[in-house]
């Protein structure tokens, strides 16, 4: 098997995360590319093998539920890290903090005075048709006025190398456990490179998460009782729920483990009796949280939970209703939202967006379906999208009808030339498209951004879909300090 020859790596037409031009890596990636160039296909296959063994032994899985059976699949992982230089990352981090700060002010405003609507910066019409606005949350003051404590923003890079925010996930973003585990696996298989000391560590996250959760406790001073609320083992992210509970040393509870008493205090049922709960990191969607307020037949939630939250006896993370800003139409307004609340220019770019609710935009979208990506306002996980250049005539016709029927629910963006990064396919390194999901924690006194984030990769040649539920994989993300 021949050695890796970077000049044969074909990434023409796209920005590549490791290779600047044929045979020449970006400065931050030089160390890794030189190391890989020394290896032949066989050594690479051995590394790949070692990573698969590590994943199996460590029990890193995600759950696929199909045909009534639950399958724990090994996490699809690629051994070649994706690299971002530290100075670029620091600018990105500042942009993410700015964005999340403005989004939290925006959500808080929507549930109180709605000044941004009165000032005609944000259209009342968009709010009126928002699927994630919860009227039950109006007037509520969550601790420290924070609604979106944990945000997972998806970043993509276009052909010219600009990083764009593609979307903000403010409901129950997942993936952070895989970011942490990817690093653990990579450390096992590429220890020599970590010895250089240039790769920034990521394992601070669970400690930061714990501190943020503790800072939300309604009983400051006490040792706060924090729990993670999971929908249960059938949820695709159960591994993550269980992992985070273990890492933070907190209880992993299901709805049936909690009760709310007449004083609106939440307790968990333990063998020692009832134990008061202060902070709930909930991984259950809004509408299933409390059958007294939302879906009356939800068995995943806790009757009375909203009462407890409203009266300030318990903190819910993220706050119910935070998803109002997790809407692909609201997304288009984020630059305005930043200017309005912070009086600053956005540090991170938004992907240019066409809102089908605007007549001009709609006409443009309908005329250019074959070149645009069309997204429904409130889906996540890559479902319900139309990728114009990869679509059939029939699919475009269907979407045209959907858009005409409900224009508020659709927005469109130009198809970005998503950046690529070398990925091991059989025994060759081939370019595959990637995105990046950093996580932002908003606490009482500080905001924390993960060092890098979860890099997701579309393993199929030419594919732009990186979601693990749809055949995507992931890789370690290195923030490299060149100094």
């Amino acid at each position: 098997m021949s050695k890796i020859n970077w000049s044969e790596y074909a990434c023409k037409g796209f920005y590549d995360e490791l290779i600047a031009q044929p045979g020449v890596p970006h400065p931050a990636a030089k160390m890794l590319c030189d190391y890989l160039a020394e290896l032949g296909g066989r050594e690479l296959a051995e590394l790949k093998n070692a990573s698969e063994v590590a994943i199996q032994v460590m029990g890193i899985t995600f759950t696929v539920y199909s045909e009534g059976n639950m399958i724990d699949r090994a996490w699809p992982f690629d051994i070649v890290p994706r690299i971002i230089p530290l100075d670029e990352w620091q600018r990105t981090e500042a942009g993410l903090k700015q964005r999340v700060e403005a989004l939290n002010m925006f959500i808080n405003d929507l549930y109180h005075d709605q000044k941004i609507i009165k000032d005609k910066v944000f259209p009342a019409e968009v709010l009126a048709h928002s699927a994630n606005f919860r009227k039950q949350c109006v007037g509520i003051n969550p601790p420290n006025n924070i609604w979106a404590h944990i945000c997972g923003s998806d970043l993509v890079r276009d052909k010219d190398g600009t990083l764009y925010v593609l979307e903000d996930n403010l409901r129950v973003p997942s993936g952070v456990s895989y970011m942490l585990e990817n690093r653990n696996v990579t450390k096992r298989i590429l220890p020599e490179l970590f010895a250089t000391g240039k790769i920034q560590p990521v394992d601070d996250y669970t400690g930061q998460l714990y501190d943020m959760l503790a800072s939300m406790s309604p009983r400051p001073g006490d040792d706060p009782q924090i729990v993670i609320l999971t929908p249960g083992i059938y949820n695709s992210a159960y591994f993550e729920h269980s992992y985070l509970a273990q890492q933070m040393g907190v209880e992993l509870v299901e709805g049936s483990d909690l009760v709310v008493d007449d004083n609106d205090v939440v307790h968990m049922l333990t063998v020692n009796g009832l134990k008061r709960v202060d902070v709930i990191y909930r991984r259950v969607d809004d509408l299933f949280l409390d059958p007294e307020v939302f879906h009356p037949d939800s068995a995943l939630g806790v009757p009375g939970l909203m009462r407890a939250w409203r009266s300030g006896k318990v903190a819910l993370v993220n706050a119910p209703g935070a998803g109002v800003a997790d809407d692909k139409v609201v997304y288009a307004f984020v630059p305005e939202i930043i200017r309005y609340y912070l009086d600053q220019e956005p540090l991170l770019a938004n992907v240019p967006s066409y809102l089908c609710m605007r007549e001009d935009d709609r006409r443009y979208v309908l005329d250019h379906l074959h070149e645009l990506v069309v997204k429904p306002a409130n889906e996540s996980g890559g479902y319900g999208m139309l990728v114009g250049p990869h679509s059939t005539k029939k699919e475009r016709d269907t979407f045209a009808k959907l858009i005409e029927a409900n224009p508020r629910n659709y927005m469109a963006q130009p198809t970005l030339k998503l950046s690529t990064t070398p990925t091991l396919i059989d025994d060759q390194l081939e370019p595959r498209h990637v995105d990046l999901r950093p996580f932002i924690l908003s606490g009482k006194d500080s905001t924390y951004v993960t060092t890098g984030g979860l890099t997701r990769v579309a393993l199929t040649r030419g594919s732009l879909v990186v979601n693990s539920s749809q055949g995507g994989g992931s890789k370690d993300t290195w923030i490299v300090d060149l100094n």
Partner: protein, 323 residues
Amino acid sequence: MLSRVAENIYWLARYLERAEDTARLINVTSNLLLDFPRTTRLDWDSLVTITGAEALFDEHYETRNADNVLNFLCVDLNYSGSIISSLESARENLRTTRDIMPREVWEELNTLYLDTLKQVEAGITSRKRDAFMKRVIRSCQAINGLIEGSLSHTQVHTFLMLGRNLERADMTTRIIDVRSANLLPRSPDDLTPFENLQWMSVLKSLTGYQMYRQQVRLRVRGPDVLRFLLQDEFFPRAVASCLGQLSFELEDLPRHEEVQAQVDDLLPRLVNANMEKMAHTPDLLHDFVDDLQISFNELHEAIADHYFSGEYRGQSQSQSSVA
């Protein structure tokens, strides 16, 4: 510890013990049958009786022959007490408690379950039977060993021990009940030359033969076997020993007085019972075993009420209905 987690752990231990004891029972029965003339009353039928699932069996099978009974007890997913169903339930319970159990336990149980599933597809043949039973028993023992060697003695351990000992006591009485219905002479004329062999098989199905020999040092007699399996404090599968262990484990739990009192009431009734008399009066023994099983059920309910959330949920509901 969360009540739900405690309940899952408790059932995990019960299902594991059930799988192991069922495998032991089948193994010994099949060995025994090889030694017996065809005219004896003992046959595969009695294994179905032990399970108490006769109706379900008859619904799915025409005759109670070796193949059908084996299939039913080992790999039939319709029967919730079969080895495969027990392992499946154990695995589901462990899946939700993976974060608190040593990882090797999950790996061992998962492998056992997947291998057993393969058996389900291949079917159980008489030739493979022995190896299969040994595999199940060995893996269950390995899991118990892993637990002893790597799980801290916290409440998790306590609930495992509660489940294991209650299930074990229950299975032991079931085996005694059904076997003795066949074994005990209705009249002195009924004594068969195989009586001795049969009592040995009862001991063997509970791996008690060796220990019996060492401790009792008499030839195998009905009353002595009963005494050993019901009243012995040292043999881990004897009912009295299981109950002693239960009482000891309960000590570590909050508000244990009431539950423990139930065990402590039961023990003297068990230990003081007249085995000589029962060995000669099958109906008396049957009623006694029935009583024991009812007490085990009550014990289970008491544990569930105290620790698996029934009690508090009831409380909080009655509180809100007052408001």
